[in-house]
Amino acid sequence: MNSELLLQGIASGLLIGGVYALVAIGLTLVYGVLNIINFAHGALLVVGMYASYFLFTYFGIDPYLSVFVVIPLLFIIGALSQKIVINPLMNAPAHICVFVTIGLGYFLENFLAFAWSPEYRNIEVSYARSILSLGEVTIPVTRLVTFALAVFLTLALYLFLKKTDIGKAIRACAQEKDAAVLMGIDTKKIFAITFGIGAACAGAAGAFILPFFYLGPYVGHTFLLTAFIVVVFGSMGNFWGAFLAGLIIGLGESIGEIFLPSAMKEVVSLSIFIIVLFFRPAGLMGQPR
């Protein structure tokens, strides 16, 4: 096995890992604050993708620029969804929220199937075929830009959480909800906002991958499963854990693809998941019981 292939694998793995990281961060944030696993996360990603597609096809807006629309749009969809559908269930047993988000996911992705028909599509941006050569490694420009933007967004989100008042309120809710209430934080509002942010992360990721990934209503499923794995691997609720884990999973998949038949690609990330459960269930950042 030659080193060129390996280097290529590492490069593409890291690049897609950035996307996984962004998606997972949205999911882990929602988990950390609302304590629910959002099964509609994949669907929200696809909504973002379709929104971007719509803007590209009808207005010629580049997907990377479309995030300026996609992010607020998904934020609103997310916040509204939380208010209407999830809020009534905040005090119900945890699994109830699981089912409601499953229903939400079905609703969203099938809305897309209905509105756009379920066929797969592709877009081609003008620079779709441009590549960058770094020594032996060739990197499509689109993947690089996607990675860069995903990381940028991650950092922006981190700063938001660290420096702004709302961000601090969110972190307070994540750590200790009851104390947050006592300190006068409007937890209901924070829940809606956090869910909106999570949706925005997913949607942004969707827009970012549109240049090189095929579009279809059910594309979110694979991303959802990968996101779950990344979140658990990175310790549930942990921001940087999700980031790190996203990169690692991306790497693992990409390198695994070199050795395994392509149909078995998922086996790598799934195996990592099982191993994590076995040896370190609390994830990268946590402590086993």
Binding site: H95, F99, I102, G103, A113, L225, V232, L277
Partner: protein, 331 residues
């Protein structure tokens, strides 16, 4: 008569009437209706099996389809490759499902990983199983397996639907009896305590790991048993039907609708949900995605409006009377 007593007497009569009706159904309906009811009973059975783990013990599995699949594949492969009669194969299938459940349960329960971890783990195992099943040539890989039709009792293959119908009805009666026994036993009570508050239960001397694992074993075994029924009734098994999260979720929606943690909840749930699903598909199926969109909406509504399921909500509404004295312990 107080509304409580009225409700419970009424429901007992209703159950009896319904059972007699179901018992006599093949005498005055045709093949199509029988098929529909067979599938309703089938899913009711599956829902009830899932309920043992989720409704009583509180462990929500979103990967239960893998047990069904394991049972189906085991008996089918044994039949096709070794000529083993499904009557024997179903027990092998049950055991393979049970071993799978043991594996999943052991990994997740042994560190006391609760709730969400368990849910995700079941999903992941479902995904892995599907990938494996799609890629192993010996068990048909992506083509699936076809069971050639040759009617005989030993082959568990029959002309017409009547035998299958009574068989699945019998399985439903069986699961109802099993769940009733569990509910009344010491084992069942402890499972419910675990569901309500694991830590409290543990502090009272309950070995929660062992009990959860046991519930998992029972649930996975019983689910896998139905796999053989499915395989030989339909005659064709495929990873895309048997190992999908969609099927797992379908199974869970039935007790969710009808009532988790109740004996008849899953059965009632299936009788309600299946027609709803059929109707939406019938009217809206031609518009791609629309019926599933409505389906998603229905799920959300059910969960928001009747979170505990119809039967349980009704029970609480009519305020359960003095519970029956506990019967002899089962474990």
């Amino acid at each position: 008569m107080k509304p409580t007593t009225l409700y419970f007497s009424f429901s007992k009569i209703l159950i009896l009437v319904a059972f007699l009706f179901l018992l006599s159904l093949p005498f005055y309906t045709g093949s199509y209706i029988l098929h529909v009811v067979i599938m309703i009973l089938f899913f009711g059975y599956l829902g009830a099996c899932w309920n043992i783990l989720a409704g009583y013990a509180g462990q929500i599995s979103l990967g239960h389809a893998i047990f069904l699949g394991a049972g189906a594949y085991t008996s089918t492969v044994l039949f096709l490759k070794a000529g083993v009669s499904p009557w024997i194969g179903m027990w092998a299938g049950g055991i393979s499902g049970m071993l799978l459940g043991l594996f999943v349960g052991y990994l997740t329960f042994r560190y006391g990983l609760k709730g969400h971890y368990f849910i995700l783990a079941t999903l992941a195992f479902g995904a892995i199983t599907k990938v494996i099943a799609l890629n192993v040539e010996k068990i048909g890989a992506a083509q699936g397996l076809i069971i050639p039709f040759k009617a005989s009792f030993a082959n568990f293959q029959f002309v017409g639907k009547t035998f299958y119908y009574y068989y699945i009805l019998f399985m439903v009666v069986g699961i109802v009896l099993i769940c009733t026994a569990i509910e009344r036993s010491r084992f069942g009570q402890i499972l419910m305590a675990i569901r309500e508050d694991e830590d409290a239960a543990e502090s009272l001397g309950v070995n929660i790991f062992r009990y959860k694992l046991f519930a998992m074993i029972i649930s996975s075994f019983l689910t896998a048993l139905a796999g053989t029924f499915y395989a030989f009734y339909i005659g064709y098994i495929h990873p895309d039907t048997l190992f999908t999260p969609f099927l797992s979720i379908q199974i869970t929606l039935i007790p969710i609708t009808g009532g988790m943690g109740s004996v008849f909840g899953p059965i009632v749930g299936s009788f309600i949900l299946s027609p709803v699903s059929e109707i939406t598909r019938g009217f809206l199926g031609k518009f791609s995605g629309l019926h599933l969109m409505v389906w998603g909406l229905i799920i959300m509504l059910i969960v928001i409006l009747i979170p505990r399921g119809i039967i349980v909500e009704l029970q609480h509404y009519f305020r359960k009377p003095r519970p029956k004295p506990l019967e002899r312990s089962l474990t």
